[in-house]
Amino acid sequence: MNIKTITATLALTTLAFTLSAQAHSPSEHMQDAEAPNCAAMETMDHSKMKMDDPMMQAMMKQCMQAMHEGDHDDSETPDEPEKHEKDGDTNNFKHKHK
């Protein structure tokens, strides 16, 4: 082994090590990502939902995305039964609130 190889190896392992310890981006939490339980929105008291409330908007946004994602990314959603239910329900939900 010449000095260049050693240096390169050292540099690379150091880099790898540094990267592993760096600021974790939100995407690193994805492994234990949990799908939002949007079916439950159906059971909420709709008369109390205010559409101009950012909290409501955030929940809607979250569920629209979950629904959309379900269209083409089936393999990674953890619990299947709930997902099917969710797909159906959130569709209705969307129509009601449009």
């Binding site: 939100p26 995407s27 939002p36 339980n37 909290m55 955030a58 994602e69």
Partner: protein
């Protein structure tokens, strides 16, 4: 006058000596399961609050602190990094909330900070928001509260602050929906 100064110096020396003996004797109960006496508690709390108020004074709260985007981003982070100590709707205690001293305030309760009690006063709300930002970014010495600023930029911390403003009113179901990490929300290309 001379004798007055003399006795003052003597008193000072005795106090220092006593403090030194106490310190080295090991009598002080260091365990987290022995609470401070009320004088020490008051002293530490006052020290903390005065320090944070002064340090947070110059902060400027972002205009969009109430936005849905901030709520979503902050909610997911809160669930990952903070709920283990500060709890979430439906969870009233866990190992950290029981075992840490000072104990992490339950941030799902509206009375855990001044925001709700003085909601009428915009100025006070603003101050409470800045206080939260500062505490999250810098942490609190000799408590379980870490400084998150080392690894997280300011916008991310403001997002969590935004989420904290709504946390006390969330039901367990609403909390779950808001904090679930959507793979789709992280812009994986379409």
């Amino acid at each position: 006058m001379k004798s007055y100064l003399k006795s003052l110096a003597l008193t000072g020396t005795v106090i220092l000596l006593g403090a030194g003996i106490y310190l080295y004797s090991g009598v002080y109960p260091m365990g987290a399961d022995t609470p401070h006496n009320s004088a020490t508690y008051w002293l530490l709390e006052t020290l903390r609050e005065r320090s944070v108020v002064r340090a947070a004074e110059e902060l400027v709260v972002p205009a969009d602190i109430k936005s849905a985007e901030r709520l979503l981003a902050g909610g997911a982070d809160y669930n990952d990094m903070c709920a283990s100590c500060h709890l979430k709707p439906g969870v009233t205690e866990n190992d950290f909330s029981l075992g840490l001293y000072p104990s992490p305030p339950n941030l799902t309760l509206s009375d855990s900070d001044e925001i709700q009690t003085q909601a009428a006063d915009v100025e006070a709300t603003n101050a409470a928001i800045k206080r939260q930002f500062w505490i999250i970014k810098h942490g609190i010495k000799a408590s379980g509260m870490p400084a998150w600023g080392a690894n997280h930029d300011d916008p991310r911390i403001w997002n969590m602050v935004a989420f904290l403003q709504r946390l006390p009113e969330l039901s367990a179901v609403q909390y779950q929906i808001l904090t679930a990490r959507n793979k789709a929300s992280k812009g994986h290309g379409h």
